[in-house]
């Protein structure tokens, strides 16, 4: 009985030592410290629609689809696992993990980010080639190196079949000339 009382008192001591610890959240903010991974934020103006993030994402949150002259890059963040794989994959640093976690909503559609990026087309036949931004990015990256001739960089604006056809035509022409 006596031992019981002692242990009871000890328990009470453990409890009361701490005092009241309840945070005043949400009336006072309690942000996460360090590099907390909150809702991914997309800087739309930097995205080139390459799809590296879509390949990296384990929850397959990000989808790409070419419709009506645009590439639709869609982030369905409802099922995001906040792993930051997309951020690490993005070549343009367009994705960052914001510290935002107060994301409750009544509709899952509120968590969708969609970007429509203009498509680039084959100079010859008009088939879609990817986004215009990606094209420009590759072209400028290549021309910066100074190792590639201008027409080769320009040649990127053609789809594979057209390139082949052009190459073939050139070859045939050359043959004819040679003949």
């Amino acid at each position: 009985m006596f031992r019981h009382t002692i242990s009871e008192l000890k328990e009470a001591l453990v409890c009361l030592q701490a005092g009241q610890v309840t945070l005043r959240y949400p009336f006072q903010p309690h942000p996460a410290e360090g590099e907390f991974r909150g809702l991914p934020a997309v800087e739309a103006s930097r995205c080139i629609g390459c799809g590296a993030c879509a390949n990296a994402c384990p929850a397959r949150v990000i989808s790409l689809e070419d419709i009506e002259g645009y590439r639709l890059v869609k982030f369905e963040l409802g099922r995001c696992t906040y792993c930051a794989s997309c951020r690490d994959a993005c070549p343009q640093e367009a994705i960052s993990m914001s510290p935002m976690f107060e994301t409750a909503t009544g509709a899952a559609a509120d968590l969708v980010i969609s970007l429509r990026l203009k498509l680039a087309y084959c100079r010859v036949c008009g088939a879609p080639l990817g986004t215009r931004r990606a094209m420009e990015w590759v072209q400028s990256a290549l021309s910066e190196t100074g190792e590639y001739p201008g027409e080769m960089i320009k040649g990127l604006e053609m789809c594979l079949p057209c390139k082949r056809r052009q190459a073939l035509t050139t070859a045939i022409l050359l043959e004819e000339v040679a003949a």
Partner: protein, 313 residues
């Protein structure tokens, strides 16, 4: 009986000091309980109006009657619980506010009325026909048998000491001889009665029949809406009138003056504090352990108390 007297009776039953008054104060005490528990648990706890909002919400909600239950028993049980609590409250608080209303044997009547809510729980458990309800009802039955013995023995000690089972005479005895608590047998009776009160309230360590984490509420598992609200109200009222009853029994005379009332409140606070602290620092006992306690140690203690009272200690 004249009409205005009838009106007075109705008023005293339904409003003051009966249902409304007891319920309001009881709910407030429920908040005190939750707040003190929260403090022990290092947290902030609910705002003062919480129990009122809980009851109001429950009253506004749909009451589902589970398929396969016995409807009559299921619907009557909460009413029985509430009626028992209300009538018990009327007797206790009339003794407090209007000693003249005391009648012969009112304490015995009170003991019977106070047994109604547990019986209602047994009915509820049996009527809801879920395995949880059935086992909860069985447990409650064993518990009632166990703690009522101690409770009756404690009251027997009072009877032996004062020679009466009437509030007014009890008060007069304590005014003449000092509070019962100050005699050895009176102290034993209070301790035994406190244990029984804890069990009657269904509080830890004796919340065996409801046992949220084993029986998910036992007899109450199938109740929703107003049925649940009535049970909760009955417990809240018991939480007020049962400690008050113990104060009147053991802790000195009650006189209709301010000084005595203030004393009463302080004594009540002490008892409530004890009950709450015990509740928040114990693990739930198993049924067999609780029965051992009540039939064993406590029964022996109570019998010793009776013996001591008989030899005048």
């Amino acid at each position: 009986m004249t009409l205005d007297k009838l009106g007075l009776h109705i008023f005293s039953t339904l409003v003051f000091p009966g249902f409304f008054f007891t319920a309001m104060v009881g709910l407030f005490l429920t908040w005190v309980d939750r707040k003190v528990t929260a403090v022990v648990q290092s947290r902030m706890g609910p705002p003062w109006f919480q129990p009122y909002a809980d009851i109001g919400k429950l009253l506004g909600k749909q009451m589902l009657i589970p398929r396969g239950s016995r409807r009559v028993g299921f619907l009557l049980a909460p009413l029985i619980a509430l009626a028992g609590s209300t009538l018990a409250a009327v007797i206790v608080f009339q003794a407090l506010f209007d000693p003249a209303a005391s009648f012969v044997g009112d304490i015995i009547v009170l003991v019977y009325l106070a047994a109604l809510p547990p019986i209602a729980l047994i009915i509820a458990g049996a009527a809801s026909r879920s395995p949880f309800g059935a086992i909860g009802a069985g447990r409650e039955m064993s518990m009632v048998l166990a703690y009522e013995v101690g409770f009756v023995l404690a009251i027997t000690i009072v009877l032996i000491k004062t020679g009466s089972l009437r509030f007014s005479e009890l008060s007069a005895y304590q005014a003449a001889h000092g509070p019962l608590l100050f005699s050895l047998s009176g102290l034993i009776a209070l301790v035994v009665a406190l244990f029984c009160a804890q069990a009657k309230l269904g509080y830890l360590p004796f919340d065996i029949s409801e046992a949220d984490t084993e029986l998910i509420g036992g007899p109450l598992a199938e109740y929703s809406g107003s049925g649940l609200a009535l049970f909760k109200l009955a417990v809240a009222m018991t939480f007020f009138h049962l400690p008050a009853f113990l104060v009147i029994l053991f802790m000195g005379p009650i006189e209709p003056n301010l000084f005595s009332m203030a004393g009463f409140l302080i004594k009540l606070a002490i008892l409530l504090f004890l009950i709450i602290i015990v509740k928040s620092t114990h693990a739930r006992l198993r049924l067999d352990q609780a029965l051992h306690l009540f039939w064993g140690k406590l029964a022996i203690l109570a019998l010793a108390g009776v013996f001591l009272a008989l030899i005048g200690w």
